[in-house]
């Protein structure tokens, strides 16, 4: 009778050293180490060179719900192809990744997602979301790091904001507030894949912000400006051409080097707005001359 407890203990010890099977629950109130005798966390699983998965939580069908591979990749419902890979099927209503840390408008205290460089927190670009219970002020903001930011800071240069208004939504190309135009000469570049700025835009109409409320130093342009504009329009040397990059269609236009200064921009492009303004000024001068000629002709009758 006394030998039975001893046999039971010996049998238990043997199971521990070969393969331990706990047919009921196992509770460990202290730390648990798997593959390590000195766990560095409440639960540590340490792989070996022969391990194909270091840690895995399996679904009922034994497919991996969470898997950490020996290469340090994390797979959710899949083996990992990237550092983090998430499987799913949006067509079946699956959402791959949900980030719940958004700011409640008007707070701007943090970011939802940052992208850093080479395994560190350097030069981080970011996406920030703002949420409001109203129709307006919901936004996604894309910011880019640049050298004016501290190297470990999250970039503060807001480049693009997707924004809701009371009447709809807008994509807003938006350099940071307070930055001078001379610092950011171009805000939106539309390229065609073969040349910078060689792209085409399609839209219904385009406007120039023009209210006196946002302007300083307003000064009327008189007849001299009309005369100069007329001379500039007359001096235009229109050309047909193709852009060197790619094999685009033949186009008509001007050469920057030959264009009058009044239509050239500091960033070395020819401004459509300035050309139009020159044409308007020139046309006004022409109309006046035409009216005088008609008056003269009337006198000759």
């Amino acid at each position: 009778m006394r030998i039975l407890p001893l046999l039971a203990i010996l049998a238990f010890a043997q199971t521990l050293h070969a393969q331990s099977i706990f047919d009921s629950e196992l509770w460990v109130s202290s730390k648990t180490g798997v593959g390590t005798s000195s766990p560095g966390a409440r639960f540590e699983a340490k792989g070996t060179s022969a391990t194909s998965s270091v840690f895995q939580v399996s679904e009922v069908d034994l497919s991996p719900a969470v898997r950490v591979g020996p290469d340090g990749t994390l797979g959710l419902s899949t083996a990992s192809a990237a550092r983090v890979t998430v499987s799913g099927a949006a067509d079946a209503g699956d959402l791959a990744l949900e980030l719940r840390g958004g700011d409640l408008y008007p707070a701007t205290s943090n970011y939802q997602m940052t992208a850093g460089y080479a395994g560190g927190t350097l030069y981080r670009h970011s996406i920030r979301s703002k949420h409001a219970t109203s129709v307006s002020s919901n936004s996604l903001t894309f910011s880019v790091w640049n050298a004016a930011d501290a190297s470990t800071a999250i970039g503060t240069r807001e480049v693009l904001v997707l924004l809701t208004h009371s009447t709809g939504t807008t994509a807003h190309v938006l350099p940071p507030a307070g930055a001078a135009i001379s610092t950011y000469t171009l805000q939106l570049i539309v390229s065609n894949g073969s040349g910078v700025g060689g792209g085409t835009m399609r839209r219904k109409s385009e406007g120039t912000v023009s209210s006196a409320l946002i302007k300083d130093g307003i000064r009327s342009l008189g007849p001299e400006a009309e005369r100069q504009a007329y001379e500039d329009v007359r001096a235009l040397r229109h050309v047909g051409f193709r852009y060197k990059a790619g094999k685009g269609r033949k186009q008509r236009g001007l050469l920057f080097e030959e264009a009058p200064a009044t239509v050239r921009t500091p960033e070395k492009s020819v401004s459509v707005d300035r050309r139009l303004l020159n044409a308007e000024l020139a046309a006004r001068g022409l109309l006046r001359e035409l009216a005088e000629l008609e008056k003269e002709e009337e006198g000759l009758r």
Binding site: S20, T32, R83, A177, S191
Partner: protein, 303 residues
């Protein structure tokens, strides 16, 4: 002798309670609690006050592959810092940081790849991907915003922008917001002036003009040409600077501009100015033709 045996048994039992080592595999067919005596999952890890990390998955050399710290922040290949999920890696070495495989097919937009929610999971803006392997068109990344017309916990349904392939342009940015009336679908600002930005493009302005997308068509004739002429002559061109900006520009003041070229929201419309100019030139051409004919007539009469 019997006492020694019982002491050894007692000692072994105490060792098992303090630290248990299993050199072979351990299999738990029931639930396992690590740091907890009442596991509520197949495996539950319960943090203790003194713990820095709940879960560590480490490589053979002991370096951390995956760390979950006491504030539920996870680090992959890195000690988690400020983010809920901090992923190390090097794209320069060919590594992808995050791969999401739940995209929609072209014909469906049922769910999203990434949702950006508020702290309680509400008001979710989202990025959706559409994919097709058979053609360029239909592949896209679509950006949606939540507004109060959506249910609180549903994915936002206001379509704002899309990066997409097409059969004609291969790839492009498509600013394509809701069909509601908006001030502007795309606003380009400078650092100091709202909508004061500069756009660089070779073929900047192209308006869709097919007749089959238009209705209520009416030709602009003499009356409209004369109106355009009057409006052009009424323009009051000015030089100015935008407030807060040093660059001197030339243009018009919205408040002084004729109604036909104002958009009703503070902007003067480039397309309307160009159209007015074209109408004026057409009218001028008619007047020149009439003058030429008259001069010819006068010359003949003078002979």
């Amino acid at each position: 002798m019997r006492l020694a045996l019982w002491l050894s048994i007692f000692f072994l039992a105490i060792q098992a309670s303090a630290q248990t080592r299993t050199s072979g595999d351990a299999t738990v067919t029931g639930a396992m609690g690590a740091g907890t005596l009442t596991p509520r999952a197949a495996l539950e890890i319960g943090l203790h006050v003194a713990d820095s990390y709940a879960l560590k998955v480490s490589s053979p050399d002991g370096s951390a592959l995956y760390l979950l710290d006491r504030s539920a922040k996870a680090g992959l290949g890195v000690t988690p810092t400020g983010a809920r999920l901090d992923v190390s890696g090097r794209a320069d070495a060919g590594e992808v940081g995050l791969e999401l495989r739940a995209g929609n097919s072209t014909s469906s937009l049922t769910s999203a790849q990434i949702a950006f929610g508020a702290a309680n999971g509400a008001y979710r803006h989202n990025i959706r991907s559409r994919a097709t392997g058979t053609q360029s068109a239909g592949n896209a990344l679509d950006f949606y915003l939540w507004t109060s017309s959506d249910a609180v916990y549903s994915l936002g349904s206001s379509y704002v922008m899309s990066l997409q392939g097409s059969t004609t342009t291969l790839l492009g940015v498509h600013v394509s917001p809701s069909t509601q009336s908006v001030t502007a679908e795309l606003v380009v600002s400078s650092g100091t002036v709202y909508a004061g930005g500069i756009i660089l493009a070779a073929d900047a302005v192209g308006a869709p003009c097919f007749s089959d997308i238009k209705h209520d068509l009416g030709r602009l004739e003499k009356k409209e040409r004369e109106a355009a002429q009057a409006e052009l002559l009424a323009l009051r061109p000015v030089s100015f600077r935008y407030k807060g900006d040093l660059l001197e520009r030339k243009g018009f003041v919205y408040e002084e501009a004729p109604a036909s070229i104002r958009d009703g929201r503070g902007a003067i419309v480039l397309d309307e100015r160009l159209l007015n100019l074209e109408l004026v030139l057409q009218a001028a051409q008619g007047r020149i033709e009439r003058l030429t004919a008259e001069l010819t007539h006068l010359e003949r009469r003078g002979r």
